[in-house]
């Protein structure tokens, strides 16, 4: 049965009633940051851009990187570092986390979470600690603004629903084997908060060994 859509159907009128225009402030808040966000090229697109014989080289490099990642998973541990005790007066951060790949999911902070702190250390690094929500999400994120004089680096350990991920390509917390993961972080200072937009690709560690690559989008707002 195809549903009938009479123009005078009260359900149809009720659905169509209400706001149809987003505020200009919201439009700007949404569209302005986009040029600063890094796009994630798929392997397919990257290979197409490289083209020709180079594709084979790139494919080989990817294969080697994946093997190296697997070996690294077998031989290397992950130094999660010490866990600082959250201070009662810490500002409460918010986050949005999206996972794509075998572990698809969207997660946001729960205002009732028992652990939610974000602090800047004297060396300039930032650390987010969060645990709570349903499904349960645990995030331990370290952002170093200018790691080794280069671009900002991010390392994280994340439990989100069934997924478990960790990445540290910038070697700020013990490091990943070369090629295991990629991560970039865009730091956006503001008058009331600093926003971190993290884009990463890292193997799925849910089963305890490195699996298929998972794409991670994490936006954290830390009140200042």
């Amino acid at each position: 049965m195809i549903e009938e859509r009479r123009p005078d159907d009260p359900i149809r009128l009720w659905v169509r009633d209400g706001p149809t225009v987003a505020s200009s402030e919201f439009v700007e808040r949404t569209m302005r940051p986009i040029p600063r966000m890094r796009q994630r090229g798929s392997w397919r697109v990257r290979l197409a851009r490289i083209g020709g014989p180079a594709s084979a080289l790139a494919g080989a490099a990817i294969a080697i990187a994946l093997v190296a990642a697997g070996l690294g998973a077998l031989t290397g541990g992950f130094d999660a570092g010490s866990t600082p005790v959250p201070t009662p007066d810490a500002s409460r951060p918010t986050f949005q986390l999206e996972l794509l790949g075998n572990q698809v999911g969207s997660y946001r902070d729960d205002p009732a979470a028992l652990t939610a702190t974000c602090r800047q250390a004297s060396d300039g690094s930032w650390r987010l600690l969060y645990g709570g929500g349903d499904p349960y999400v645990s995030i331990d994120l370290l952002v170093v603004p200018d790691a080794a004089g280069g671009p900002a680096a991010a390392a994280a350990e994340i439990f989100a629903g069934p997924a478990y991920l960790r990445f540290d390509p910038g070697l700020v917390r013990g490091g990943d084997p070369a090629g295991r993961s990629e991560a970039s972080v865009d730091i956006q200072p503001g008058p009331d908060a600093t926003t971190f937009v993290v884009a990463a690709t890292t193997p799925d560690r849910t089963t305890g060994v490195d699996g298929e690559p998972i794409e991670v989008d994490l936006t954290v707002v830390c009140p200042t």
Partner: protein, 185 residues
């Protein structure tokens, strides 16, 4: 023309994506606020969908499917928002657009709105989504199925169940008091 913008945006042209996003953001907001019935959650979902669209656009194979793909990202964001707020808030009512209300605003009309608000709140987010796509965007079942990512039969049954529930609530609200009192629901 839009397909050209999509191709350029997929290659990193932020201006092209800006044009695509600004052209669609009102429609995305209209969908999200009708599904989520909350202004802030709707804004968050739209923002998440557009940011995901930009970052993941290089993985879109067919530029002509951009809108369907964008709607799917929005629905995914709406589902996530609904899950995260399930424990903290109930559905809120969207106030009617006073400019578009008919001259006759009587108690029946208010009762209808209240009944629909209640019935809609009881639907799952997935059911609300198909109702909104069908009645707000005038999508057919095949199109809804593609956007939602389910077989056409599933989209049909979701829509059928949701509309049946909304109509039942509407009928109950319009039933004379004596008849309503005599019926067990």
């Amino acid at each position: 023309m839009d397909e050209d913008l999509v191709r350029r945006a997929a290659l990193g042209d932020a201006d092209a994506f800006d044009a695509l996003g600004r052209d669609r953001i009102d429609r995305l907001f209209g969908i999200a606020i009708r599904i989520l019935r909350d202004h802030h959650d709707a804004e968050d979902a739209v923002q998440q969908a557009l940011w995901s669209a930009w970052t993941d656009l290089p993985s879109l194979r067919d530029p002509s499917r951009f809108d369907a793909w964008l709607y799917r990202l929005l629905l995914r964001a709406c589902y996530g928002a609904a899950r995260s707020r399930r424990r903290r808030a109930s559905i809120v009512r969207i106030e009617p657009d006073l400019e578009r209300l008919p001259d006759r605003v009587d108690s029946d009309l208010i009762a209808d709105r209240d009944a629909l608000d209640r019935a809609f709140a009881a639907l799952s987010t997935e059911q609300r989504a198909v109702v909104v796509l069908h009645h707000f965007l005038d999508m057919g079942l095949d199109e809804i199925a593609e956007v939602v990512g389910v077989p056409a039969g599933t989209a049909r049954s979701r829509l059928h169940y949701a509309l049946r529930r909304l109509r039942a609530e509407l009928d109950a609200a319009n039933r004379p008091p004596a008849a309503a009192a005599g019926s067990d629901r």
